[in-house]
Symmetry: C2
Subunit: 637 residues, 2 copies
C-alpha cells in the first residue's frame, strides 16, 4: 500500500500512514484532537486545516463550515481520508492544551470526638493505621534439627507475631525463590503483605530491611482527565502528582460515545489499552522525576466511574449503556497490577474502588471517603457534577444515591464555546451595566468558557435582565453584545479582536437552555433524593460539591441560578478532586478501603430514569432559579 | 561454531550439536541413557559404543572398561566431547526400554459401617461426593429494572442455590468476558467452580450445559517413572492412562543427584522444565488418543515426594538435601496449571498433594488416601519402598511416620545387574539343589534383575545355604555358579549364552550386602516406629506395601529375608502404585483432598537420622532375617 506522510502544525509532529482517516493519523501521531462523538462526523469538533496536499472536506462535513472555511481548507478530521502527503494545521479550539487538572481534593474540616475519621488519613499521616500493602521486617531464627519447619512456615510464624491475619497465602513467584532469599539474606528479610479475603497474602520477600521503600499509587481514572499520585505508604506523604487528558478521548468525549465505539465495533481493547498505557506513562514520568524504582511500588488504588472501571479492568461495559443498565461487576476482584499491564512491581496489586451501580461508580465511593460521608452521624450530601450528576445523601446509618443525566455542560462540552477549565477559558464573568469584565485561566486570550464561567455568565445575564428567568434573551433592548446568527441569539463575552481564535466568544440561547436543563437535572435529582428520605435542604448539615467547574466556582452564583439549594453558603464546600483524595485514603488505610467496600454495599441507588417524582421536579427546575421561588427565598433577580 | 551430526543406533535417532558431551547430545536427541550420577563420570552407567567417527574414551572413563571394550570404542557418554560426526551404538543395558510401569493402585478391601471410606471413591464412582473442580449448569433470570444486579452477582446468586460456598472469587479472565458469555448464551451457562481457601472460585463460564465435559488429571510424579490418569470428573471413570520414565533421569538417577545438579550449578530450570514437558507429552498423547479437548481438563492433582513436588512447582529444593533438611513448603498453594506451563484449560488449577517433611512427601500422603490409613480406627501401616523407605503407622486418631535412607537397591539400582522392573528383568528366582529357574519380565532374554528377583535370589541363596545368614558366600562348596572376580564372589543367575547382553547376569556378595543394608534400614525404621508408639508388629491390623518391586513380589520371601515383619501374610498386601490412586481420589473428592491436607498436618515425622534407637535396630537387622530370631519365629533357614 502507498504510504503518506502527515505533518501536524504547530508542533510539527510527523506520522506515516497507509490510508485511514486524518483523525486516526492524529491518534497514531499522539496528537490529541477533540472528537466528542468518537469519529462519527456528528459533533464537528475535530476541525483541521489542510495547509498542503490534496484532501477535500467531504459532503458529510459540509454543514459544519462556512464557504470561506471550506476554501481555506477546513475539514473534519474524522471524515477525511488520507490519500496524499499532508501538512495540517490544528486550530486553537481543536487543540487540547494541558488543562489545569485538579489533582487533589480539598481537606474537609470536621472533627468527631472519640472516633478517627477516615478522611483524616489523607491530611494527617500520623493517623495512618495500616496501608493496603504493608512491608514488614522479619529477623528469623535459623532452622535446626529441633526447629525444622518449612521455610514458608518459618516466615508465616514470624508474620503472625507482627500482623493480625489468621493465615497467609503466598504467590507462586514469591514461593519459588523463597529458599534462596532467606539464606542469601541470612534470614533477615522484608515481607510485602497485602490483604485478600481476610487473609494475608505474601506478595514479595526482599533481603534486609526495605520497609522504607514502599510506595503506592492513587489513581483518578476520570472520563476527561486522569491523575496519578505517588504516595509513600510508610509516611503517607504524596511524593509526586501527574495528570493529563484521558487519551480515550480519541474514541469519544464521554462514556456513552466510548461504549458505542467499544461495543458496536467490538473494540474494547483499544480503550482498555489507552487507559493502561496512559497510567504507565504517568507513572514513568513520576518515578523518573522522583528517582524511584517502579519495583518499590507495591499497590495501586484506582477510582473511576463504573464505565471507566470496566475499561480499566478490561471488562465488557456494553450493557451499562442500555436499560436495565447492568454492569459486569460492582465489586472488583483484587488482581495483580501486571495482569492488566500496569508497570509496577510484578507482584504488586491493583484494587479498583467498588461501584454501586452502572451510574454511581468508584469515584463517588472515593468521594465519600474524602468527605467522611458514611462515617459521620451528621447528614451530609455529596454532589459530583460531570457528564452525569451523582448525588449522595446519608450518614453513618444510611446512604441513598442517584445519578442524573445532566450532560457535560458544566465541563464545557455541548455548548458553542464551552471548554474545559484550561488555559484561555473564561472562568469569571461580571456584567455591570453594559461593561463586561472577564477573567481567563492563565490570563491568556480567551479561547472559550469553562464551567464556572458559564455559571457566572448565566447569573450575570439574568441579574442584568439581559435574559429572562426562562433563559431567553430580551431582544427588545438595544445591546451591542447581543447578536442573532443562524444558531440564534447570543451574547458576546469577548469580541473577535480580543480572542485567541479570532472569533468572538459568545454564549447562545441554546447554550443557556442546555445549561438550565443541566442544572435543573441536578437540582431535581437532589430534591427527589431529599424528598425520598423525608428531609428538607435545611436538614443537610453539609453539601460537598466536586466536579470540573474550575477553581473559581462561585457558590453564591451556583445557588442563584438554581444549581445548588438555597442554604447558608457556609455549609456548602467545593472539594475539588474528591476521587483522587478518596483513592489515596483507601491506599493508606486498609480499614478505609474495607469501609469503601461496605459503603458501596450499603448505598441504596434510586434509579431516576423510571422515577416519576424526578420528572416533575425536573420540569419545575427549568427556570432561574426555579419555578417555585419559595425554594430560593434569598434569590431575587 | 562447527556443527556435528550424531546418529544413535539402533533407533537411528539423529541430532545436530555444536560440541558438548555425548550425554547432552543424547538428551537433545530425546534418547534416554542411564546416568545415575548425573553426568559426573562416577557411576559408569552411560556406556555407549562409538561405531563411526573420532571420539576417544578419556582418562576419567578408563577404569570402567576392559582393554577390549576400549578397543571396541566403548566410552562414557558424559565424559566424551562431541568433536566429530558420530554414529553411536547404545548397548542394551544402557538403553531404558519401556518399563512395565505400575499405573494403578490395588483396591484395598475393607468396609466400615456408617462411614464412607475415602478410598471407595476410587473404586465406586457412585460414592462420588464433589470433585475438586465442579461444573454447574445455571439457568439465570434475565435482568430487569427491578432485578438489575450486576452480572457477577446474578451468577453467584444462582451458584449459592446449588453449592455450599459462603462466597465466590472470580478469575480476571472469567470476569472479562462474563457480560458477553451470559448474553450470547441467553443466560444459560455452565460455571466451572473450584474451592480455594474455603471459598468458591469461579474459573470459567461456558455457554449452555457442558457439565458432561469435565476432566481431570491424576499425576504420579515419581522419581523414576511418571504416570498420568485422565479422569472423567462427573462419572469418576478413568478414561485413559499414560506413563513413562521421568526424563529428569538424564540429570541424575535419584533425587539427591538431581538436587546436586540443580543446586551446585544453579540449574533448577532444566529439571522443572523436564517434568512439565513430560506431563504435557503424556497429556497430549492421552487427549489425542481419546479425542478429548485439553480445554475440558479443568484440574490436576499431582502426587510426588517432596523433592519432586518442589521440582514440579519450580521451588528451590536445595536445603532439602542437607541437615536440617528444610523444604521451601510442605503445603503447596493452589495455582493455575498454566502458571507452571501445564497445557490444560488456561483457567484450570493444579493442586500438589501436601508433604509432611523433606523426606515424607505427597506420594505418601496420597498412599494414605489409597489405603484408608488415617480414616480408619484400625491401626495400619504403609511401607513405600523406593530410594527411601517411607513408613507410616496410625489410625483415625494419630499418625506417625518416618523415612529411612534405604538406597534404591530394590528398584534395581546400586547392584551390579540390578535394573528396574522392565523387559528382560529377572523377576522370579527358584533354586532347587543346583538347578536355577528364572522368570523374566516379558519372557525376554535376561538383561538384569529387578526388585522381586533380588528378594527371591537372596532368599533362595540363603535357603540353599549358598550364602550364610550374614549374606556371605560359602566358598568351601563346589558350585559352578559361584565365581570370584575382581569385584568379589558372585552367583550366576543366567549364563552369558542365555542373556541379551552376552554377559552372565550375576548377584555379587557386595550386592547382597547392599540389599541386606536396604532391607535392614526399612525393617529397623518399622521397628523403631512401632516401638515409638508402643505397639508390637502383631498389633498392626494391616501392612500395605507399595513400591517398584515388580508385580511378582513374593510377600513370604520378603518376610523371610527380614524386609517385612513376620506376621500373618494375609494381613500384608502389596498395593502397587498407591500414589496415583491417592491422587485420583483427591481429584474426585474435595473432602478427600482436604482430608489429605489435614492428614499431612496431623502426621508426626520422626527424624531417624538423629534417632539412636534406629541406629541400634539397623545394626541388629543386618542379618538374614535378623540377629534376633525371636522376631521371625516362622523363618527357619
Amino acid at each position: 500500500m502507498a504510504k503518506y506522510k502527515v505533518i501536524f502544525l504547530p508542533d510539527k509532529v510527523e506520522v506515516e500512514v497507509e490510508g485511514g482517516s486524518l483523525l486516526e493519523a492524529a491518534g497514531k501521531a499522539g496528537v490529541y484532537i477533540d472528537s466528542e462523538c468518537g469519529g462519527q462526523g456528528l459533533c464537528g469538533k475535530c476541525r483541521l486545516q489542510i495547509l498542503n496536499g490534496n484532501a477535500k472536506a467531504d459532503k458529510h462535513a459540509i454543514g459544519f463550515f462556512s464557504g470561506e472555511e471550506i476554501r481555506d481548507g477546513y475539514v473534519l478530521a474524522c471524515q477525511t481520508a488520507v490519500t496524499d502527503n499532508l501538512k495540517v494545521g490544528i486550530p486553537a479550539q481543536s487543540r487540547l492544551e494541558m488543562e489545569e487538572i485538579v489533582t487533589e481534593g480539598t481537606p474537609v474540616e470536621y472533627s468527631q470526638p472519640g472516633k478517627v475519621s477516615l478522611h483524616k488519613v489523607a491530611q494527617d499521616p500520623a493517623s495512618l493505621s495500616e496501608p493496603l500493602v504493608n512491608k514488614v521486617y522479619l529477623e528469623l531464627p535459623k532452622p535446626t534439627m529441633e526447629d525444622n519447619i518449612s521455610d514458608i512456615d518459618r516466615v508465616t510464624r514470624e508474620l503472625n507475631r507482627q500482623l493480625n491475619f489468621s493465615s497467609y497465602d503466598i504467590s507462586l513467584a514469591c514461593l519459588q525463590n523463597l529458599a534462596d532469599k532467606l539464606r542469601q539474606s541470612d534470614w533477615k528479610v522484608t515481607a510485602t503483605v497485602a490483604r485478600q479475603d481476610g487473609k494475608g497474602r505474601l506478595l514479595q520477600l526482599e533481603e534486609g530491611n526495605t520497609t522504607d521503600g514502599n510506595y503506592g499509587l492513587a489513581i483518578d481514572v476520570g472520563t476527561t482527565t486522569m491523575v496519578v499520585q505517588l504516595v509513600h505508604l510508610k509516611t503517607g506523604e504524596v511524593i509526586g502528582v501527574e495528570g493529563n487528558h484521558n487519551p480515550q478521548a480519541r474514541y469519544g468525549e464521554d462514556v456513552i460515545s466510548r461504549m458505542i465505539f467499544a461495543c458496536t465495533r467490538n473494540r474494547l481493547n483499544p480503550l482498555h489499552k489507552a487507559v493502561v498505557t496512559n497510567i504507565n506513562d504517568l507513572v514513568e514520568a513520576l518515578t523518573r522525576e522522583k528517582g524511584i524504582d517502579t519495583n518499590n511500588i507495591s499497590c495501586v488504588v484506582a477510582a473511576g466511574n463504573t464505565t471507566m472501571s470496566h475499561f480499566l479492568m478490561g471488562l465488557i461495559p456494553c450493557s451499562i449503556r442500555l436499560e436495565p443498565y447492568i454492569p459486569t461487576a460492582t465489586i472488583y476482584p483484587q488482581i495483580l497490577a501486571k495482569d492488566i499491564g500496569i508497570n509496577i512491581n510484578p507482584d504488586g496489586i491493583l484494587e479498583v474502588l467498588p461501584s454501586v451501580a452502572s451510574y454511581v461508580g468508584g469515584d463517588i465511593v472515593a468521594g465519600l471517603l474524602a468527605c467522611g460521608l458514611g462515617n459521620n452521624p451528621e447528614v451530609s450530601c455529596l454532589i459530583d457534577v460531570g457528564t452525569n450528576g451523582e448525588i449522595v445523601i446519608g450518614n453513618d446509618e444510611w446512604i441513598v444515591c442517584c445519578s442524573a443525566s445532566a450532560g457535560p455542560a458544566f465541563e464545557g462540552a455541548g455548548t458553542k464555546w464551552g471548554m474545559r477549565a484550561s488555559k484561555g477559558a473564561i472562568e469569571k464573568v461580571v456584567i455591570e451595566n453594559s461593561r463586561v469584565t472577564i477573567e481567563t485561566i492563565g490570563k491568556a486570550k480567551p479561547r472559550g468558557i469553562c464551567g464556572s464561567g458559564l455559571i457566572d455568565s448565566i447569573y450575570e445575564l439574568a441579574r442584568n435582565k439581559i435574559i429572562g428567568q426562562d433563559g431567553k434573551f430580551d431582544l427588545s433592548t438595544d445591546n451591542e453584545r447581543i447578536i442573532v446568527k443562524e444558531d440564534g441569539p447570543q451574547y458576546i463575552l469577548a469580541f473577535l479582536e480580543e480572542t485567541e481564535t479570532g472569533e468572538a466568544v459568545t454564549i447562545t440561547e441554546i447554550d443557556i437552555s442546555n445549561l438550565i436543563k443541566a442544572k435543573g437535572a441536578i437540582f431535581a435529582a437532589l430534591k427527589s433524593l431529599t424528598d425520598y428520605v423525608g428531609l428538607s435542604f435545611g436538614q443537610l448539615d453539609k453539601i460537598y460539591l466536586s466536579g470540573g467547574f474550575g477553581s473559581s466556582l462561585s457558590i453564591p452564583k451556583a445557588i442563584a441560578i438554581g444549581l445548588l439549594p438555597d442554604i447558608d453558603t457556609e455549609r456548602i464546600q467545593y472539594i475539588g478532586n474528591s476521587a483522587i483524595m478518596g483513592a489515596r485514603i483507601a491506599l493508606l488505610s486498609r480499614s478505609a478501603f474495607e469501609s469503601a467496600v461496605s459503603l458501596s454495599k450499603t448505598m441504596t441507588n434510586i434509579e431516576l430514569s423510571n422515577y416519576l417524582p424526578f420528572m416533575n421536579e425536573f420540569i419545575a427546575s427549568l427556570f432561574l432559579p426555579h419555578t417555585d421561588d419559595r425554594l430560593f427565598p434569598s434569590i431575587h433577580y
